[in-house]
């Protein structure tokens, strides 16, 4: 079974995922750039493409960086 696993892994390499934190900070940077240059927010796919990561990594990075509670947003808007 170990052999098969190794074979399958080599055959189907799982992309080494960058740390969630690293992706999250790159998303924020890209978002600010785009807002400044084009005056709009990037879409999810644009981010994945720009950063060269999977869509799911973008989703999980966003989840981990969503610190501001909804209440703060409403109150300070």
């Amino acid at each position: 079974v170990g052999e098969i696993r190794r074979f399958l892994r080599d055959d189907n390499p799982i992309r080494v995922s960058r740390s969630v934190k690293e992706i999250a900070s790159k998303i924020i940077k890209f978002k600010e750039e785009l807002l400044k240059e084009k005056g709009r927010e990037p879409t999810i796919n644009e981010i994945a493409e720009k950063l060269g990561v999977e869509l799911e990594e973008v989703i999980l990075a966003l989840e981990s960086s969503q610190k501001i509670s909804s209440l703060d947003e409403v109150v300070y808007q």
Binding site: T43, I44, E56, E73
Partner: protein, 143 residues
């Protein structure tokens, strides 16, 4: 409104499932390629609705919560449902700052948040039967 895709999710009203529900709906909505703000709005609205079902719908027990999400050309429809306690006076419940649980330091802003972050909010509820929240968000990033 042509439905492009649909999903149904069911889970018990445990607090850790609030984050799970939020990620799942976000992953599904991503198929329509929303922008960051639209995705954050949806996640916040889902969090508020699921938290309500957990805290208010099933205050003393664990019960089932169901989510149905549908993608159409211009956006997403999200239905979040519990078979819990229900709401006596929906109009009052939807008022900003109204909360039936001030002792829990609830802000009373959940429905207000859902209403302002989404493009449509409908609330159906029957005391003793449960509560159903229906929300729609249109994506400006789409056609």
């Amino acid at each position: 409104m042509i439905i492009k895709n649909e999903m149904k999710l069911e889970f018990p009203s445990r607090s850790q499932n609030e984050a799970f529900a939020r990620i799942t709906v976000a992953a599904f909505a991503s198929q329509l390629d929303p922008n960051l703000e639209e995705l954050a709005d949806i996640k916040t609205a889902v969090s508020e609705a699921v938290t309500n079902s957990i805290i208010h719908g099933y205050p003393n027990e664990i019960g089932p919560i169901k989510i149905i999400a549908r993608l159409f050309e211009q956006g997403i429809e999200i239905i979040i449902e519990d078979n819990g306690k229900g709401i006596e006076d929906i109009e009052q419940a939807r008022q900003p700052l109204y909360t039936s649980k001030p002792e829990l330091e609830r802000s009373g802003m959940g429905f207000t948040v859902m209403e302002s972050f989404m493009d449509l909010l409908e609330v159906e509820s029957e005391p003793g039967k449960g509560t159903k929240v229906r929300m729609i968000k249109y994506f400006k990033s789409q056609g």
